[in-house]
């Protein structure tokens, strides 16, 4: 058994002539949080969809628990334990916490043809699970729309874990959140990892990624610029690697230039 829970080796994905991903490699151990950093257009979305089984990689292999895996559908990825939480969270705000938690995988009881959705059991589990994160759902039949952004994110993550995710793929979980809400979500991510899950955290926010990540993979224009352990790289270095760095340097120079012209 190798030390890695899941390995994505030399993944490439092409759309016609466009090279969306080229030779991206990521390896994760249990309990590790890997942050995938990249600016807009770096290929993050394509990579997520490849991990989630939506796209089939054109090159490369996915190895999960020492076995080579080929996904034919998102369901396959889900079944072996890769749980993806998309940016839109797949939550319906008009539906209750419980109905969202079990959406598509409702527990049932009763005889064939008269099977009913076991709502009592579902309510209990949903309230219990949310309680473990420290979110007190007073009433699991309340609409998700009444929850805060951070709580919704935690609900979506908690749902993925409950349904057997061993690898969590999180797409920009903190992007729309304020500082307090974001830290609540990040705390929960760390807690999930400490229970033995491998987490791939996709973000363009280094300030959110750096405190929680064990390793960092930087993606730029479809290519990986390498994976770095936390001890080997500083926050500033990461930031400048995300292509944003150069751009920002350039911007600074240009601003100075403008300043100079105006002063003359």
């Amino acid at each position: 058994m190798s030390e890695y829970l899941v390995q994505f080796n030399n993944i490439s994905k092409f759309f016609g002539k466009v090279i969306a991903l080229k030779d991206v490699t990521m390896k994760l151990k249990k309990g590790e949080i890997m942050c995938l950093l990249g600016d807009n257009g770096a290929g993050k979305s394509t990579l997520i969809k490849t991990l989630a089984g939506v796209h089939k990689p054109d090159e490369g292999e996915i190895i999960f628990e020492d076995q080579k895996i080929v996904f034919d559908s998102p369901r396959d990825a889900l079944d072996i334990g890769i749980g993806t939480v998309y940016q839109d969270l797949a939550l319906v705000s008009l539906m209750s916490v419980t109905r969202n938690f079990f959406m598509g995988r409702e527990p049932q009881k009763g005889l064939p043809f008269f099977r009913t959705f076991d709502i009592e059991k579902a309510n209990t589990i949903a309230a219990e699970r949310m309680g473990q994160i420290g979110i007190d759902v007073r009433d699991p039949s309340q609409a998700v729309g009444t929850m805060s952004g951070g709580e919704r994110q935690c609900l979506a993550i908690s749902r993925a874990i409950y349904f057997g995710a061993k690898v969590l793929v999180l797409d920009e979980p903190t992007s729309a959140l304020g500082v307090h809400q974001a830290s609540m979500v990040l705390k929960y991510i760390v807690k999930a990892a400490s229970q033995g899950l491998a987490v791939i955290l996709i973000t363009h926010n280094v300030h959110h990624a750096y405190p929680v990540g064990n390793s960092f993979t930087v993606l730029n224009r479809g290519k990986s610029m390498g994976t770095f352990q936390k001890k080997d790289i500083s926050r500033e270095k990461l930031l400048s690697m995300m292509a944003g760095g150069e751009e920002l340097d350039k911007l600074e120079v240009e601003l100075k230039e403008m300043d100079r012209i105006e002063n003359n």
């Binding site: 797949a90 319906v92 705000s93 539906m95 219990e128 007190d136």
Partner: protein, 375 residues
Amino acid sequence: MSVKSESIQSKKDSGQDERLKKISPFRVLLNRPELGALGGSILVFIFFGIVAGDTGMFSAYGTLNFLDVSANLGIIAIAAAMLMIGGEFDLSIGSMIGFAGICIAIPAIYWGWPLWTSIIFAFAMAVLIGYFNGIMVVKTGLPSFIVTLAMLFILRGATLAITRLITGRTQVPGLRVLIEDDPIAWLFATDTFQWLFTWLGSMKLIALRTDGTPLATGIPPSVIWFIALTLFATWILMKTRYGNWIFASGGDKVGATNVGVPVGRVKISLFIGTAVASTIFACIQVLDAGSADTMRGTLKELEAIAAAVVGGCLLTGGYGSAIGAALGAIIFGTVSMGIFYTDVDTDWFKVFLGAMMLIAVVFNNYIRKKVTETK
């Protein structure tokens, strides 16, 4: 059940978040989609109780009369409501009623089929047409409004053309004699609880004809179907996995797909549901009248949608209830019949219908904001 509520209770009491207000029972009620329709129907009954209380509107005969009208509308309104919760519309309901009517009448009268086979034939056609509507919407991604609007014209036109081609007329009479001894037709044509009405009549508790039989002979089949469908639809929506999928498909198609809900299959089945409900409506009316008319059901799709909206369905999908739609149908049915018992000109009914719908939409919109308001 009790264990669960206790554990949640204790969490509440431990006061994890002191900013949270306790939710009043009133707010819980306010969160139910059928609240508006419930209030509306109570108001309607109070109004007619005062205005028409002594006119015979609420006699056994009068009550069954407005219940029959409500029930007929209710049968299609419930199916329309379920489809709306699933995020789609069906504008072909009215045309489907006309089409189903001649699917029963022409084979039975002109081709010599037994009545029951032509009834089954009509239901088979309904499933086919519902499936076609559904697959068109799901596969093309076109708005169901457009797809079913096209079906509205196609079906009405085909009904008229086929009937005239085969019969040379636009009406097919002569069905009444076929109902007796038919193994299926009684499902749509029998008044139930006749013994009760006979007994009530013999006790002189309800109005009698001059020959001594009661004026109201039994509960019309529409009412039984209406009650059964309301219960069935409510059970599906609230108590089954498929019900949860309906809410999910209408609430957020992409999200539901991502967590494994078969959104396409759910929507197709709901379109089949509206077509089948239209056919139930057609069976009851055609067998009651003894004839099929090509124009039967005209504008019924809009009344069904109106009843569903008054019943709390959101036009955007994902929210609503079958009981709400049933109450919406009762409001419309009661007013459309009750207006005869008042001094108001019946021409005003449509004005009422429109105003009622407008109020309902404004109210529902407000409720949705309440339900989804963030902290």
